[in-house]
């Protein structure tokens, strides 16, 4: 792993059900067992250091798993520690932004933590560039595009997040300090594209060169 200086050494937190389309896709089941109610706090998970892959790296897919789910998102990298911050000042705690590809093995239940689906070695593509707040401006205005082998598979409008970047930082920092170098992923779309070994995944923010193009190729893992 050599991602410096793209990421400082902090914990990477992802968030489930932050996009309107993802919420809408699940809304019909939220009252049912085992969930019994819609989530109130941000639904977080951790992408551990073993998952980190640099831009350009090959990512191994388990032999018995034909397809992985592509989770394009924008990483907010924390500069000044954020504890119980208000939305109005939350973005002042962001040192920069990076594209990520939050890969998962497809799973149909969100009841238990997704460790065996989301924390496989290499399952978080990161990079290639760290863009400053000045270069990005309002992160919620961005659109991400996902291409598999050159074909457009998903367009994700970061403006449709139920908790925009500032609100997300505020709501997470209510119960845990986001430390220098910690990372919050802004959220995923619904209907995330699938890919298999041999395919090349590209993620870019349309109209913003400062983040570059995150490229990773999937390869078959060792048996």
């Amino acid at each position: 792993m050599n991602l410096s200086p793209v990421l400082a050494a902090g914990t990477v937190y992802g968030v489930l059900l932050n996009s309107q389309e993802e919420w809408a896709a699940w809304a019909g089941q939220m009252s049912d067992a085992p969930y019994k109610a819609a989530p109130k706090a941000p639904v977080l998970y951790v992408k551990t250091a073993n998952t980190w892959s640099a831009c350009g790296a090959a990512i191994a897919v388990p032999v018995r798993t034909p397809q992985v789910e592509i989770g394009a998102s924008l990483a907010l990298v924390i500069g000044t520690p954020a504890s119980q911050v208000r939305p109005q000042s939350a973005l002042q705690h962001v040192a920069g932004y990076v594209l990520v590809n939050d890969l998962s093995l497809p799973h149909t239940s969100y009841y238990r933590p997704p460790v065996k689906y989301k924390n496989l070695d290499g399952f978080l593509g990161i990079g290639p560039r760290y863009a400053t707040p000045a270069e990005v401006g309002d992160p919620n205005r961005l659109q991400l595009e996902v291409r598999v082998d050159g074909h457009l598979q998903q367009t994700l409008d970061l403006g449709q997040m139920l908790r925009p970047a500032a609100q997300l930082i505020a709501d997470v920092s209510e119960f845990m300090t986001l430390r220098h170098g910690d990372v919050l992923l802004l959220g995923l779309g619904a209907h995330r594209p699938l890919a298999h070994a041999g395919q090349r995944i590209e993620i870019r923010a349309t109209g913003l060169d400062a983040l570059g193009v995150l490229t990773n190729t999937l390869v078959e893992g060792a048996p």
Partner: protein, 251 residues
């Protein structure tokens, strides 16, 4: 040998236990009261992976009205939730149920990938004691237990000692107990784990590489009770140490 990491005289030191005192790496002896205790972990170049087991003792699963899981129920904590021995843990205002969880914590010593259970002990650096507090008021059924319950600042005391594997002949044969203000409230034994330490290392390393300094918190037995500000909670594991923590009200 038992290792600690302490702040003393304006600097952070590695230390070892020596006849009831701390021997700092620079040769000084200091008393246990003369230092601030930090989690007994050496720094690592990447964020530490902290895996924590839920419902890994049959009696505790029953206590919480669950049937025993068929595969490990695991969640991940951030390093920011850790604090050391003799520190304070915040009880949020207005909650009804905050409980400790005394847990054997395994510290990984060597990079572990696709390790077989028969070899698992070779990948362990040592053991410490974790108190994996939960605020049950915040429990939601999405990626449960959710981080608002389990990943709060100050809510994972760890320490005081990292005990070498050489000192712990069999980690699956240790008594655990918790006292609150001196009264025993939790009493269990590591032999009652559903998934034992070698199994857990084989299981996790089958899909994720464990790195030196990573932690596995192996779950807690029956006997969790609500704790209030001012309560002194001591989580104690035979041969490893007694981790002291005091609950404080939200400032």
């Amino acid at each position: 040998m038992k290792h600690a990491r302490v702040a003393c005289d304006g600097a952070i030191h590695d230390a070892t236990e020596n006849n009831g005192r701390l021997l700092l790496a620079d040769g000084r002896f200091v008393g246990f009261d003369a230092v601030t205790w930090l989690p007994p972990l050496a720094p690592v170049p990447w964020p530490r992976t902290i895996l924590a087991l839920g419902l890994n003792y049959a009696d505790h699963a029953k206590e919480l009205a669950f049937k025993a899981p068929e595969e490990p129920l695991v969640f991940i904590k951030g390093e920011g939730s850790l604090i050391g021995h003799r520190a304070h843990t915040v009880r949020p205002a207005g909650v009804d149920y905050m409980h400790y969880e005394c847990e054997l914590a395994v510290v990984i010593g060597r990079t572990a990938k696709k390790v077989r259970r028969d070899d698992a002990y070779d990948f362990i650096a040592g053991y410490t004691v974790a108190n994996d507090y939960a605020i049950r008021d915040y429990l939601e059924n999405w990626y449960r237990p959710n981080l608002r319950v389990k990943n709060r600042d100050t809510c994972t005391p760890l320490g005081p000692w990292l005990a070498d594997t050489a000192d712990i002949a069999n980690p699956m044969n240790l008594a655990l107990k918790t006292t609150v203000n001196g009264h025993i409230t939790q009493s269990g034994h590591t032999r009652d784990m559903i998934f034992d330490v070698p199994y857990l290392i084989e299981y996790f390393s089958s899909f994720m590489t464990l790195n030196p300094g990573d932690l596995i918190l192996t779950g807690t037995p029956d006997g969790v009770v609500d704790c209030q500000p001012g309560d002194v909670v001591v989580t104690d594991i035979e041969g490893i140490g007694a981790l002291v923590n005091t609950i404080t009200a939200q400032p």
